[in-house]
Symmetry: C2
Subunit: 197 residues, 2 copies
């Protein structure tokens, strides 16, 4: 039986993306090359260049593949009715992922590619950030319906207020990124900096 060419292409694509993800952990983004990825994936350099314009885009697609490797349904955040507890749970998981040595190099590489490449940033926003952001907004909408959030609140500002400090501390290394920090950020964002009487 001749192997299905679509399947063969898909297998090569996955081999390239897995190789890129593994390799960037080992050598760092600066030393990641298309040649290195091709050797690791067991494909020709030209196969990669045919599908991807740059190593940044290969890495981006590797993240996309990882994000799609679940059951394919949309991401949903926990909703126990206790907004503070749910947000702390999620933000602590984010902190753990950002501190995980397996993800550290690839995620920093993707973040810096986005910083310098507006086109890749737009693709990132559409395919990776926006589905996650919608899940975050949806959890906040549910809290808003339950009267736990200010009625006129801009949910995008709310998402930025909760997740922005953690991402920024991670990227700019301005302090230790701990579970305790995640919890304090959630509390401060929900309560606000002004005193509550």
């Amino acid at each position: 039986m001749t192997p299905n060419p679509t399947r063969r292409r898909e297998a090569s694509r996955r081999a390239v993306l897995t190789a890129a993800f593994d390799l960037v952990q080992e050598v760092g983004y600066a030393k990641l090359t298309i040649e290195g990825i091709a050797a690791r994936a067991g494909v020709g350099k030209q196969t990669i260049y045919r599908w991807w314009p740059s190593k940044g885009v290969v890495l981006f697609d590797a993240f996309l593949m990882l994000s799609e490797s679940g059951d394919g349904g949309p991401v949903v955040l926990p909703d126990t009715g206790d907004l503070r507890a749910d947000l702390i749970l999620v933000l602590r998981a984010t902190v753990e992922e950002l501190n995980d040595p397996r993800y550290d190099q690839p995620m920093r590489a993707l973040a810096t590619e986005i910083t310098h490449d507006a086109e890749l940033a737009a693709a990132y926003r559409e395919h990776l950030d926006e589905p996650m952001r919608e899940a975050k907004r949806e959890r906040l909408r549910s809290a808003q319906r339950a009267g736990q959030l200010a009625p006129g609140l801009d949910l995008d500002i709310a998402v930025d207020l909760i997740w922005g400090p953690v991402l920024n501390r991670w990227l700019q290394r301005t302090g230790p990124l701990t579970a305790d920090y995640a919890e304090r950020v959630v509390t401060a964002a929900l309560d606000g900096l002004r005193p509550r009487s």
Copy 2:
């Protein structure tokens, strides 16, 4: 009269730093080279290598020189007694600076070097971030004394909540960075996401 060697060294140092800052705006960080900086500054390549281990550190020192070019006194944030108005003023100025094409490339370059280089990040934190952060904390301390902020508030969390979203939106390009956005972030951080009765 023989020129003072200390002065001559200082003039070369400034020429190198100015050249690095100008050049990164023109060619971007990826194409910035020690050779290019040397040519622009009119010094030998070896002069640069004698003082700086990498182009990232040259650029960092260029920012340090800029931050020291005022009157030498510590940075102080405006304090009119109206915390919200003062924070909006400062955060809008930050947004303008981040949107300024003269600073865009150099600042993105510095930010991504910090993302990948823990040692440079530590130097950045000590010499550039911490003096600014202390000025921010000092403004918040004054508000706390006036009863405008929760008494037990962790001021570093407060700084991260106000400035983190803006820096993150800029670096990750997750949306337009406008004066209006700055204002909404300040309001949300001060009031909190939970309703105030």
